[in-house]
């Protein structure tokens, strides 16, 4: 599938840019994006090391176990086939906690590690496991408790009450989260 999406994006870009007169911009974007990707990996590298290191401590201490137990009512429904005590579940739990607390630069490294562990459980198959799909879908929805960046931005823009969006954001995020998870779970049922 990724083959088709990849080809589609690139081919459509080139065809459209021929009509919009942006062919040079598209060429530049190709080079610029490849640089950006590496810059991103380098930026991520430090956070990756930091959080993988801290995660090892959290695993060998008791923290992951305690948090896993706390989140178990949720995770057992979402990730039925993943054992509660597996490393994968540990990373999933820590990723969810980081996301709720709005620690984006911790959530991504932890999420990537979770995917690696899920890949091992999936026997490195070319077909994504249901747990992988659920996990990725969960991460494409927002479960952040406090939208701090947006509040700061609103304050900058001179809002009289920058934080009044918090409750509406909770409602909107919740509606979105439920619909994506339902969609994923329905597909999961249909596939099996």
């Amino acid at each position: 599938m990724i083959n088709y999406i990849w080809a589609f994006l690139i081919l459509v870009s080139i065809v459209v840019s021929a009509f919009t007169g942006r062919i040079d911009q598209v060429a530049n974007a190709a080079i610029k994006s490849s640089n950006e990707a590496i810059t991103m990996v380098l930026t991520l590298c430090g956070a990756m090391c930091l959080w993988s290191g801290l995660m090892k401590i959290a695993e060998e201490g008791n923290l992951v176990k305690v948090l896993s137990k706390l989140l178990y009512p949720v995770t057992k429904r979402l990730f039925r086939e993943i054992p509660q005590k597996s490393q994968a579940m540990g990373y999933i739990v820590m990723n969810i906690v980081a996301n709720i607390l709005g620690m984006g630069n911790a959530a991504t490294p932890l999420g990537i590690k979770a995917m690696e562990e899920l890949d091992k459980l999936n026997g490195k198959s070319a077909r994504a496991s249901c747990a992988m799909c659920t996990f990725v879908v969960l991460n494409t929805a927002s479960i952040q408790l406090i939208p701090a960046n947006m509040i700061a931005l609103r304050m900058q823009a001179g809002s009289s009450n920058p934080s009044e969006i918090i409750v509406p954001v909770w409602i909107t995020s919740f509606i979105t989260l439920i619909s994506v998870l339902l969609c994923a779970k329905i597909h999961e049922k249909m596939d099996s």
Binding site: I112, E116, A126, F135, N139, T140, P162
Partner: protein, 176 residues
């Protein structure tokens, strides 16, 4: 407001504090465990680099081609019919594709229409209730062997559609 900023700033130090403290109490060989984990992190970063270059190039090209503007133009009658303010459509379409570009659009909307206008509020809520779908899918699947993502893209994109309707509806109900 200050309380919220304080809480957000506290999240990371507090989490790190609890990790180290719980490690210390459980007699973990702290520094050795940390470096062992950090090395794994380095390997992961190396593994995701190549797939990330491939996908970000495709997304970057798509963004630069102007295909998005064509789509905004094409669906504007549908938006009018559904009572979605057309001003937020560029944001709604850019949100799943690029975090930095959508943030720039959101900033622009806030300064043009005002942070406390209905459009400004919808943009704020839309921005905060969603994630950069393509980035997340790209980065996460870059770390695994799977090339068949099954229903994950479809489900995530449904979310990007739902969040537009939901933010407009919630805003209209709560603020007008």
């Amino acid at each position: 407001m200050n309380v919220i900023t304080l809480l957000s700033n506290l999240a990371m130090p507090v989490v790190i504090f609890f990790i180290i403290a719980s490690g210390l109490m459980n007699n973990v060989n702290l520094f050795e465990a940390f470096t062992r984990g950090a090395k794994e992190g380095l390997k992961t970063a190396y593994n995701i680099a190549a797939p990330l270059v491939g996908l970000m190039v495709a997304i970057g090209m798509f963004r630069a081609s102007g295909a998005l503007d064509l789509i905004v133009h094409a669906i504007s009658p549908v938006c009018n019919f559904l009572k979605i303010p057309p001003e937020i459509m560029p944001l709604a379409l850019m949100r799943p594709i690029s975090g930095s570009a959508s943030l720039a659009i959101a900033k622009d909307i806030l300064t043009t229409y005002g942070a406390d206008s209905l459009i400004g509020k919808i943009a704020s809520i839309l921005m905060s209730s969603s994630e950069t779908t393509f980035y997340t899918i790209t980065v996460y699947f870059a770390a695994v062997s799977a090339t068949n993502y099954r229903y994950s893209l479809k489900s995530s994109l449904l979310g990007d559609l739902v969040v537009v309707f939901a933010s407009v509806a919630v805003c209209r109900i709560l603020f007008s």
